[in-house]
Subunit: 283 residues, 6 copies
Amino acid sequence: MTVTLGEVVAALEGRYAPALAEDWDAVGLVCGDPDEPVRRVLFAVDPVGAVVDEVVETGADLLVTHHPLLLTPVHGVPADDPKGRLVHRLIRAGAGLFVAHTNADRAPATGVNDALAGVLGLIDPRPVLPAASDPRVGLGRVGRLAEPMSLRGFAERVAAALPVTAGGVRAAGDPDRRVATVAVCGGSGGSLLPAAAAAGADVLLTSDLKHHPVSEALEVPGPALVDVAHFASEWPWLPVAADLLARDLGNRVEVAVSTRRTDPWTAHVAQPGTGGSAGRLSG
Amino acid sequence: MTVTLGEVVAALEGRYAPALAEDWDAVGLVCGDPDEPVRRVLFAVDPVGAVVDEVVETGADLLVTHHPLLLTPVHGVPADDPKGRLVHRLIRAGAGLFVAHTNADRAPATGVNDALAGVLGLIDPRPVLPAASDPRVGLGRVGRLAEPMSLRGFAERVAAALPVTAGGVRAAGDPDRRVATVAVCGGSGGSLLPAAAAAGADVLLTSDLKHHPVSEALEVPGPALVDVAHFASEWPWLPVAADLLARDLGNRVEVAVSTRRTDPWTAHVAQPGTGGSAGRLSG
Amino acid sequence: MTVTLGEVVAALEGRYAPALAEDWDAVGLVCGDPDEPVRRVLFAVDPVGAVVDEVVETGADLLVTHHPLLLTPVHGVPADDPKGRLVHRLIRAGAGLFVAHTNADRAPATGVNDALAGVLGLIDPRPVLPAASDPRVGLGRVGRLAEPMSLRGFAERVAAALPVTAGGVRAAGDPDRRVATVAVCGGSGGSLLPAAAAAGADVLLTSDLKHHPVSEALEVPGPALVDVAHFASEWPWLPVAADLLARDLGNRVEVAVSTRRTDPWTAHVAQPGTGGSAGRLSG
Amino acid sequence: MTVTLGEVVAALEGRYAPALAEDWDAVGLVCGDPDEPVRRVLFAVDPVGAVVDEVVETGADLLVTHHPLLLTPVHGVPADDPKGRLVHRLIRAGAGLFVAHTNADRAPATGVNDALAGVLGLIDPRPVLPAASDPRVGLGRVGRLAEPMSLRGFAERVAAALPVTAGGVRAAGDPDRRVATVAVCGGSGGSLLPAAAAAGADVLLTSDLKHHPVSEALEVPGPALVDVAHFASEWPWLPVAADLLARDLGNRVEVAVSTRRTDPWTAHVAQPGTGGSAGRLSG
Amino acid sequence: MTVTLGEVVAALEGRYAPALAEDWDAVGLVCGDPDEPVRRVLFAVDPVGAVVDEVVETGADLLVTHHPLLLTPVHGVPADDPKGRLVHRLIRAGAGLFVAHTNADRAPATGVNDALAGVLGLIDPRPVLPAASDPRVGLGRVGRLAEPMSLRGFAERVAAALPVTAGGVRAAGDPDRRVATVAVCGGSGGSLLPAAAAAGADVLLTSDLKHHPVSEALEVPGPALVDVAHFASEWPWLPVAADLLARDLGNRVEVAVSTRRTDPWTAHVAQPGTGGSAGRLSG
Amino acid sequence: MTVTLGEVVAALEGRYAPALAEDWDAVGLVCGDPDEPVRRVLFAVDPVGAVVDEVVETGADLLVTHHPLLLTPVHGVPADDPKGRLVHRLIRAGAGLFVAHTNADRAPATGVNDALAGVLGLIDPRPVLPAASDPRVGLGRVGRLAEPMSLRGFAERVAAALPVTAGGVRAAGDPDRRVATVAVCGGSGGSLLPAAAAAGADVLLTSDLKHHPVSEALEVPGPALVDVAHFASEWPWLPVAADLLARDLGNRVEVAVSTRRTDPWTAHVAQPGTGGSAGRLSG
């Protein structure tokens, strides 16, 4: 009845095939012995110290994260390196680490982007950049809202649906613009803007947007933009993947979603519309 | 008594030498005839449509921007391309465009980073990455606050000192952390973090910070991070450069700072600390 | 009844599809507004000052040239750069610039190489380097003369058929050699020599031939070579393209071929067969 | 009293040090055995079949050429390759081949460019691109004419001074322009134009000039251009190098300059200023 | 009745098509004139001085070697270079040099690897890395032994079957391991290990094996390794190719296999299992 | 009195500075926590399974190897990868792994090459490739024998002085050649041959020598070659480094040299000088 780490890995890779990952990505097992048993699996966005604390505190045998620990490959994992220290802590605690990153982004039906589309209520979501070989696979999702709304109203819906983060939600474009078709991309998805435009999106929601592409986007017709915390955009996948793993293994493993908020932003100060040295600027 | 565009360019390059620009940058005159007269100069962060409207409306003969119009080089400037259209509008209006970008960032005393350090009240600012040839030249500035304060307090000072933008100010790190030495870098300056740490900074203020470097920074000792709008971080330079040009040319040209807020973010929705599907997350 | 620049561009691209251009090339609209009307179009080989003078003098709304103005891409078009100055002059004169370069070389039936083959009287011309997808498309043309003639006689025919240039026509190979099959390539076509040999050509006519490839060619069996001015080899296309555009647009635009000889060579001194310090050389 | 090939090579390299050659060049001994005796040395511009005929006919033991035989390196020298055949013929005839190319171009006092400057009567010639380490070394030569003359007059002097070739001499620029300072570069020297301009040259004489650089040069102030046969521009060096070798070896070897004209152009047809399909063009 | 070198080359290339060679290889005729007659052909592994001595002593008109003389291409073949000296000696002796290298390795049925498989008695040999286009073509051969034997026993069979060399035969892996399926690759074939493992080989025999790949191979399940002299692994091909050529040309040429052992190792000292400073090491 | 891993690393890097390593190398701490205590250190050439067995069996806290475990960087260390498994075993056993590779090769006085020179009795050894900055540092060592001897005699001395390996010792060159000056390079040092020749060496001893460079070396004057097992050439450093570490730390750590022979070759079959299919070859 015991489940081995090898079986858990097989179940996860059955849903999030490594072959779906981008060439530059680093997915799969980072540490852990496939022959050893797994009783409890913890799901988190980021493999950081606070999450490994939780692995140790809760006695999890496996940590599944969306972000790779060692995206830049290493010649060693010494404990005086922050990432090496996590490897030591996990191995000594008998816990493995498994990463599903761009393969989870691109996977059909149960991936990161489907989960994000789901909490926002998008109807008939399909990939923004569908794979040539399978139209259900690909980066981003684009779908319809049940009811069109203003860009401002959409930003408010996003703020209510996603995990709370210090930075909240930003929008670029006319706040009164009507939004009916929505493209989303968990993580840093600014490069999907041309494809989202081609797919007829009124808005693209993603994270880590920088000044220049957003500024250039507003100079031409095309989708508005909504920026949320990277962490918040990917979090909705955690309960989906956790429940799926439990089900796929006949509930022979216990699953949990991490309770640590690993968005790094801890404080926000709003700037009211008047005062300050920019007071002389018009909108 | 008339000033030619050539003289204005010479005055600007006397303060912001093209040789200071990074290899990949594109600074200097984008359009305009150095032999023609200049009576009025407008300074702005971004060469976008709203700013060219202002050039036309105010009859300026020269637009000086911090950001390049044609950072990616082009084989033509046809008017059905958004950037080509601006070139047509400027040439037909008899106005030139001059860019001072990383040369203005790295210039001594009167550059973008000195202006930013100035509005924040930094004492004895010096480059974070000083040039080997001249220690007054380089990217970023690091200096002391007159009085140490908390990270939260510093973020509030930043919000008060910089132009108002929709996104406001974000901070990463313990909000109660004491901040005495401050590093700043106008624009996208996340790559200066190691140098800011080496310079003893308690915090690095810059813009366009993305999830992964901030998350990794919080896993090791080092500076806290403050993120502001890219536009806001560079705006303080505009009045400095405008006044300097007028003075350098004996007030024979009229100068003005653009009144258009070219930060592309138009709306922000805060997420209060409770409610939402992330309500079960602990901080 | 007015024709817009956009319609003219569409007509030209209907004959000379941009997709036919080489990867390194820079074709299409360089300046001008597709929404503005066009009454008169001037065709020339080179976008140089003398030709832009003619645009201004004749009130043309569009200049079509074979050679790109900005083959090396630029970060600006300031008027103290010779090419930027032409952009200023054209935009201020309300004239556009359109380039059809290697797409015009490779296009079927009405391209640069067909025009060159036509003035030389070649029969059944076909591409020297045909495209895999369409045998009518490709670089160079090879065809038969109505009557075989000597290489010297062919060079005389070339001199009579092409625009007069200071440098005249040069031939390499036995002047008495019989020439029946002729390959031509407008512009710098020396690299087509192996393909011309494979196509059974007795001679390759092109321009800009340099010492080493010609010297090496004479060491092995294969075609003789004839070198003409680059300008002269491409000029025959101008009336062809001009007439075609007028016809394609139902004579709603007026067309003209530039009268300026833009071959840069202005003088030639022949060396008679005796005298000089090389008098002791035998042939 | 016998001289070995090794001694001849040492004498030649004493004047034309291999270290002066460009990185991409291929100079030195191509075939021949340094231990064998040399009685007679033939100098030529090009290692072609006609010159090897002369080696065989005259019983020369060594051929010295300016141009490399194997600039593109080879995996073999089979006799069914034109260059391999020359290697077989030379080795079977007991003759070596030695190349002095860009080292002879750049060498001080007795190199290719000094010889060219000499036959044109230039006063105080110095390198156009002097080496940092030695101002007497470098590509090209620039000097004064004893009397200024028109560009046309200079072209006539060139035609009289250099070996007769079919193509003669071409000039670009105003034929009446006054020429006092002259830059020359044997071989393909068009890339020296900016340096010639910086050196104050009124004209640059070189060979293998192509349309685009000449056309662009005429659009800006700067030197006129004169184009001669590549062969003719380098030939003047042959008697200089031959005499020098004989002297350096105490006349223990017999030297001769090849009598074969290896310029590949065999015929030229002038185009008188009227007639032909370009009759309607104005100058 | 005379056979030309061209006919011999055609016969050899009929068996060992140049198109089969790797991209980086240098095969075919290195020197010799295809129009000259060939009476006697010598086959050897290496084009070295001792073998050229044999060419001269035996009056051979053609040397066929497996290894290229000029794998690194050259700008000349002067006689003071060891390889250039061989070219001079061959050309002066009227002898050609022909190379069949990776094309002979990859050729079907009569190539280097088939000959090696043959002397070892492998049954049903097929390529280890078969070409996509033809399964009989490719690097390496894998086949069965008539009777399984121990790794030690296999090494003894190899020692008996291949030419005697000073270094003998080395094996890596448990000497008592059972060997039934054998992969072989003449020359430096260590990179075929993964393909040999995939083909089910119990052992890979090749040469030039280095410490690190062998050490890593022993850390995982997979084939044992046997290392022989590079020369010995390729020698078995010589009599095969020689006989084949004679037959293909109707015995109109005389063929011979070189009697020179060109393995460079001249002495070997065994280390008995005890004594020396490593005496304290356990196995 | 306890020594931490950090102190041990500092002592090792004091002797074998990481800055001495080649750019492509991967030296330093691979796993282990610098804050934890170290009582016992084991030194070995290779980080392989048998050596980790010994770490576990002997309770060592640190393994120091010459060869890197992760020369090719990795994205993870899962236990189903042979190298990842060793990381798991070491971390779980509380043992670190430290690598000193090309820094130990190049270090002065107490490095790999000095140890090798020492066991062979070389007098006044100095680097074959000395560093520009410090003539005591560099790859290889060259020194004199107390008494000249034959190449065969030298090979016998090598066999007696180095650890016993299955492959023994091979020599290339005339066995009776006199050897007085000896160059050595632990590991794969064939590329040092030109430098060893320039240093006047009569022989170069190293490992992993391949056919082509040895064959080419025998075609020109220069050093003979001796090839030993890679493992054997580096082993002499182990006791040197172990003793030095104990001394540098005041004998506060226990040191040991691994007793496992990690040379991968397990058997050798000599080929007597007659018989076999190569019997017809002459030497």
